[in-house]
């Protein structure tokens, strides 16, 4: 369901209601319910999202109890859900009507809220058709949690298929078309040659002069997707390079090895940040020999003179009743999460647009970790870093086994984003 449909669905009922009182709760049914606690009592946090998602897929309804016991879920106690939870190792607690009343009372009296979840979103992951030599934390979490998704790539995006989905994920992609500057360290690697060839062939097939032009076209489609009401979640390189690609319409921001021409020496001054979502006044990295795109990234992991050590980031608290969307996005059983590198690890605070909502940052640091915003009818969320449970991931490293990280607070942030489009949303007040 697109965001505008959410607002249409819930806007009218809210008129005339005092914002400070809770809405009448959505009564799932008269049958008992199942509480999926999401605090330390939960045996498998990540699969709990999957159990909830599949309950919605079966046509059921659920509630997300924001800030209640780590952001718990309330589901109908039907045999299919119970079986699913048992097989997945998800801890459930039967909740009678009396139990539910007590829960709602606690929610009403505290900074908590109960958000109905109505429909499982249609999820797309933007990824090349072949296997890449690195992991995608989002696809891993979707697979592990058992959440259906579809892979789409440049031909599908350019052909307009994004409108078939409600949620889109981007991860590694370099939307500036410079292959993440992997030439600097992996020149000669077979997988890089293969990636370059594949992208160049795709550009040719779609009638585009080169890969940077192809990726800009894709970036434009993604912006259109968001502005039409879609939900975008991006991590790692995709965050920074998507923004640059959007702002660089008509500007050459790619190295010669990408498009045959040098980067415009005045590129930084020519970028149009009204076209991007999150950042502004960014200074691009002019040297093609430096493994960095711009000064958006605070950690600059592959730029030795500027590389910053990892710390930990803290999730912000929001008013669950007034700001349900950011509250949903930060649901976790841990407030402080160890940081993790990516080609883009963090976002310099001074590069953020003023209307960006910061969801998490590192105390005392000039960068933030997790941000969210709106663009016309849709929303976007960016999380810096590559893999929450692999802080210093290198290409060729073995993939993360999420069964060993079933309670990962970092991965919960990813899955919060997957589930949040399922929510009915009230008017936002940031």
């Amino acid at each position: 369901m697109k965001r505008r449909e959410f607002l249409q669905a819930v806007g009218a009922p809210l008129l005339g209601l005092d914002r400070l009182t809770a809405r009448p709760p959505v009564r799932l049914s008269v049958q008992p319910s199942l509480l999926l606690p999401m605090d330390d009592a939960q045996g498998n946090h990540l699969k709990a999202y999957g159990v909830t998602f599949r309950a919605l897929k079966r046509g059921g309804r659920a509630e997300w109890l924001l800030n209640y016991r780590g952001g718990s879920f309330l589901l109908p106690a039907d045999p299919a859900t119970e079986r699913d939870a048992a097989l997945a190792g998800v801890t459930v607690q039967p909740a009678s009507d009396g139990d539910v009343v007590a829960v709602r009372g606690e929610i009403q009296a505290n900074n908590m809220d109960a958000v109905p979840l109505e429909k499982a979103p249609k999820v797309a992951v933007y990824a090349p058709p072949n296997a890449a030599p690195w992991d995608d934390a989002v696809t891993m979490s979707l697979e592990y949690a058992g959440i259906e998704y579809e892979k789409i790539w440049d031909p599908e995006v350019v052909a307009g298929r994004l409108k078939d989905f409600e949620w889109l994920h981007l991860h590694h992609e370099d939307f500036t078309g410079q292959f993440s500057k992997f030439y600097l360290t992996y020149s000669g690697a077979f997988w890089l040659s293969e990636m370059v060839e594949r992208n160049q062939e795709t550009a040719r097939r779609l009638g585009l002069p080169n890969v940077p032009a192809l990726k800009k076209a894709v970036a434009r489609e993604i912006r259109g997707f968001v502005q039409d009401g879609g939900f975008l979640f991006a991590m790692c390189t995709a965050t920074e390079t998507l923004e640059i690609a959007l702002a660089a319409e008509g500007v050459d921001v790619a190295a010669p090895y990408a498009d045959g021409t040098s980067m415009d020496p005045e590129a930084s001054a020519k970028l149009d940040w009204t076209r991007s979502f999150a950042f502004r006044d960014v200074k691009l990295e002019q040297s093609s020999a430096i493994a960095s795109f711009s000064d958006i990234d605070g950690h600059q992991v592959n730029n030795p003179p500027k590389r910053q050590p990892l710390g930990a980031f803290t999730l912000f608290n929001f008013s669950a009743k007034i700001d349900p969307v950011p509250t949903m996005l930060v649901q976790s059983h841990r407030q402080v999460i160890p940081d993790f590198y990516g080609l883009t690890t963090s976002f310099q605070r001074e590069r953020l647009k003023p209307d960006v909502t910061v969801l998490a940052d590192e105390a005392g640091a000039p960068w933030v970790k997790y941000i969210h915003g709106e663009s016309e009818k849709g929303t976007w969320t960016y999380l810096g870093g590559h893999d929450p449970e692999d802080p210093q991931h290198q290409i060729g490293d073995p993939p993360t086994d999420l069964s060993l990280h079933a309670n990962s607070p970092g991965y919960r942030l990813i899955l919060n984003n997957v589930l949040f489009p399922a929510a009915k949303k009230r008017e936002l007040k940031t």
Binding site: R83, A86, A88, E143, Y144, T185, K306, I395
Partner: protein, 610 residues
Amino acid sequence: MRRPERSNAEVAEHAENAEVNLVTAPRETINRLCVLCALCVLCVGTSAPRRALAQAESRVLAEAGELERLGRHADAAARYRGILRTEPTSVPALLGLERVFTSLERLDSLVPLVRAALARDALNQTIHSLELRVWFALGHSDSVTAAARRWIALAPRSPDPYREWAFTVAQRGDLAGAKRALSEGASRLGDAALAQDLAQLTTLAGEWTEAARQWVAVVRGNAALLPSATGSLTRAPAVARDEMLSALLGVRGDSTSRRMAADLLAGWGRADEAWPLLDATMPQDPNAAAVLLQRFAERTVTARSRRNALVRGYALERLATLVDAAAAGRVRLQAAQAYADAGDLAAAQRMLERAGAGAEAGGAVAPAMASLIRALAEQGSAEEAERRLLAWNDRLSGDDRETLRQAVAWAWARRGELDRAEAVLAPDSGVAAAAVRGWIALYRGDLGLAREQLRAAGPYTGSREEATRRMSMLVLVERIGTDRLPEFGRAMLALARGDTMQALTDLEAAARKLSLASGRADVLGFAGEVALARRDYQAAEDLLVRALAADSVGPAAPAAELALARVQAETGRTEVAIHQLEHLILAHPQSAMVPQARRLRDRLRGVVPE
């Protein structure tokens, strides 16, 4: 270059006209003037000794250093500038100004001073390096290049300009630029001049294959740098190593590159691959050969596998022929230990004999002898192991005596000589000995005594693997409702000897003698797991199905279901296996097998990596 002589008036006038950075109280001005006056006094007369000037400069430098330490950078700058007025090429003053101007964010003020210094001392390497650093810090990359080129023009045969230029741009992360600078130098001065710099740079850049080639060139020029070279290259990630080795071994007939490859392989724990390379390129010179062999032995001291231990033995044995007699004895003992660890008892024995490790040999031989006894016991030479143990009993450490008694007892037990095994353990009352006695009782079919001894041994003695085996066996034996079951004992002894077929036959015989209530299902389930471990999937499935038919709800059922699911998965029936696992999870939610079942289910469904 001599400083031009100055008259007193000229010095005083210069001092008065000098640019002064006064940011503190007039007191500082007075201090400065005092300094200048001190300098003036010292300059009086054309016959003022240079030594006095040098002493004055030292004093001022010391003052400036103290001011820096106190954070009074502006005052320190004034001191340094004062020195430069009389000694424009004073390197300590220039370097001091670099520090304080950086703190004051006035580094651009250093540029004319550096240029003035170079005008007087055009070949001073330190000042040239300083100029590069200053331009770099100011962000003027073109000026860095220009400064480097000026230096090159002044010292066309020196590698220093290229080296410093590369280092400066590398600091900015421009490794490609640094490489270009070094390559330019190499093209003009020859490969050898900057080979080590290029090698270090390519290593830093993670260009491992190219780095390996560069380091070969370095080591060809100076063999003593082999440890540095391989020390840098050892850090290469596993994905890069094969290509590095191909590059090294692809150069025909080059002993340097092969020795480097051997050293790298040894450092990567692949000593068995390293040895043939090293052996084939051993230098004729005995001293050089001894150095390489010693290094190989050091690199392989943590060798874990038998193959690695064996080649370590080869290297040590050869090394013993190249060193003096006193060292040879020690080396042969190390070789004996390595051979024993590798299971080559004959070679271990040979080394001990040549090391003079007879009956009268002392405590230095004891560790090697302990390894030999252990190896003899593991290989089943129980008599020989026991004989040597008795002969060396007083010379071994207490821990070695205890563990070797257990090893010898195991050797007897595996041969079925259970009485002799118990006799060896007689002096021992510890929990480790109780563990061995528990197994011996098991082999006799005395399940009552086995339970008692295995419980006494507890869950902690021995390795983790041994402890797990022991506890698992105790759990099984606890469920068998009889104190004597010879068939079960025979089955366990057959398993210890590796005769799985006989073990399965005896286990089935044991199960037939048990009722449903006294552990038939448990024994059948165990037999099924034995068959599964042997990859006899048909037998395993038959036994496990019978175990579940005997008892599908008792404590043995989850383990049998899990094993059955593994059989189904191994025989390609993935969906059947998933269904089996789901049944296990839902029917036995409290079972300790459930986490394993969930993980296997996830793996079969492809949601976690293999």
